[in-house]
Amino acid sequence: MLADFINPYHLQIASFILINILLAISVYVPLSSGQLSLGSAGFMGVGAYTSALLTIHFDLPIFVGVLVGAAVAGCLGIIIGIPSLRLSGVYLAIATLGLGEVIRVIFVNWESLTKGSIGLTGIPQMGRELLKLARNVGIEPAMFGLRNNQFVYLMVFVILLILVIGTIWFVFRQQNSRIGRSFSSIQMDEKAAESMGINITYFKVLSFSQGAFLAGLAGALFAHVMGYISPSDFSYHRAVEILIFTVFGGSEVIIGSIFGAIFLTLIPEVLRFVSEYRYIIYGIMLVILMAVRPQGILDIHLLSKFKRLKRSKGGVR
């Protein structure tokens, strides 16, 4: 039976993987135009708090809260992106990391709104709302032979999966177009790109704010999956973790970010049996990778090798 295969614990990990994929892509997109942003944790927090507060205080439906949360983060990305144009490389990384900390400190200190470091609780949960919705139209989990909590986790997973696939599709399509060519030309040689008639201000701010939007989206979803958030969820630990997804998996190709997010979210879970030591193993793995393969696991050359392999196999037949 279906019910035997659905393990809420596994589904929850899968949901975190999906959120982490969004976060990894939020680093990847600005990077595709040469901007190393560590602001994702901050933008994630903005999305999370915006959506949480809107749904708690104004009773807005979750999907409206999530959209507004992502949009607010995206707009903040535009506002931050413009002055950041003067910065590049590590300087931009440090500035955006600082920005994230500023945002976190605001969450800690604006107690009347954010409840300070305790954080917000009682955020409407996506799964429960979906269950309510289903029941309103006369659908019961039992009709599929599912327990309530199985149904809830499954619905969350499915919604996140749709959003993630949509996002990957969007980024992929955009990349193979005039917009994507502009991004990568700026990444490879900003001055030459400008000489070719590319408005680098526009395209850099565009990619930066797209990253902010995605991080905000991921944050808002995170809030409604967890049901509670606090400033420490969006600290610089998170910023670095997100960066590592992208760098570990390979920052040159979107598939690298996806792979990095999946692999690095799974590893601590898989290594649960060695408990305390798992983060040591995680750390050692990163050190070895950076020494051996600084461009990350996946890169263009590796992918084209795969492609050729596939093609030649098809040809033999």
């Binding site: 969007f170 399509r173 955009q174 177009s177 005039r178 917009i179 994507g180 060519r181 502009s182 990568s184 030309s185 490879m188 040689d189 001055k191 030459a192 790109a193 400008e194 000489s195 070719m196 008639g197 590319i198 408005n199 680098i200 565009l206 263009i300």
Partner: protein, 257 residues
């Protein structure tokens, strides 16, 4: 008048890279800009494309003042350049490099790019087709899928020209296109530039290869230490005493260096 340089000066800190230089380029000309190393030739290109703003003076394109216009706007107006130290998008295929050159002659935004509207599709087809034509023009069509960084030096120079042409320039700026080319390549470069001229593009060329310059150019300006030393036809320049003394006479030294 395609381009008019009017009393242009440029100081870098204490260095006077250009001092009160003026000249005019007519429609359809191939115009040469020559002079010893450090004379300020590349600086002139950087001012025309507004990588830097001139300290004083004006630059007019088709009789409108373009001084201080953003670089990408200048390309839109119809001026495009190549670089002395090749600046291709090294990790992109040759074809994509040229397609980037067509950026300002296309308009698809995020929405139409992601949803692949009819207009976007036909625009992409047009860009691809034009890029292939230009690659064919510079003799690189068979290398269209090769990454720019994997092309030979002379091929990279020609790819830069194709990329610049993709922006439909009325004025093409070439910064030492023959540098590092062998005799055969230089000969085909001559043919290429003549062909570009025949398509109605005005060309301003910086070049140290004197036989090429004298054969190619309709008129020439000679710069020396940031100042205009002489202007005229190749014949006039070759017989100008001060040019021979400052530049042409020292050609053997240049070759050794």
């Amino acid at each position: 008048m395609v381009l008019e340089i009017r009393n242009v000066s440029k100081n870098f800190g204490g260095i006077h890279a250009l001092k009160d230089v003026s000249f005019k380029i007519q429609e359809g000309e191939i115009y040469g800009l020559i002079g010893p190393n450090g004379a300020g030739k590349t600086t002139m290109f950087n001012l025309i494309t507004n990588i830097f703003e001139p300290t004083s003076g004006q630059i007019l394109f088709h009789d409108t003042n373009i001084t201080g216009l953003k670089s990408h706007k200048i390309t839109e107006q119809g001026i495009c350049r190549t670089y002395q130290n090749i600046r291709l998008f090294s990790q992109m295929s040759a074809l994509k490099n040229v397609m980037v050159g067509g950026h300002c002659r296309s308009s698809s935004g995020v929405f139409s790019s992601v949803f692949r509207t009819k207009k976007q599709k036909s625009e992409e087809r047009g860009l691809t087709q034009k890029a292939e034509e230009l690659l064919d023009l510079v003799g690189l069509l068979e290398h269209k899928d090769t990454l720019a960084e994997n092309l030979a030096y002379g091929q990279q120079r020609r790819l830069e020209i194709a990329r610049a042409l993709a922006s439909n320039p009325k004025l093409l700026l070439l910064d030492e296109p023959a540098a590092g080319m062998n005799e055969n390549e230089t000969d085909s470069l001559y043919d290429l530039i003549k062909l570009i001229q025949s398509k109605g593009v005005t060309v301003l060329i910086i070049e140290h290869d004197m036989p090429l310059v004298m054969k190619l150019c309709d008129r020439i300006t000679v710069l020396n230490f940031g100042e205009k030393l002489a202007e005229g036809t190749p014949y006039e320049i070759q017989n100008n005493e001060s040019v021979i003394e400052a530049y042409l006479g020292r050609e053997e030294d240049v070759e050794i260096a």
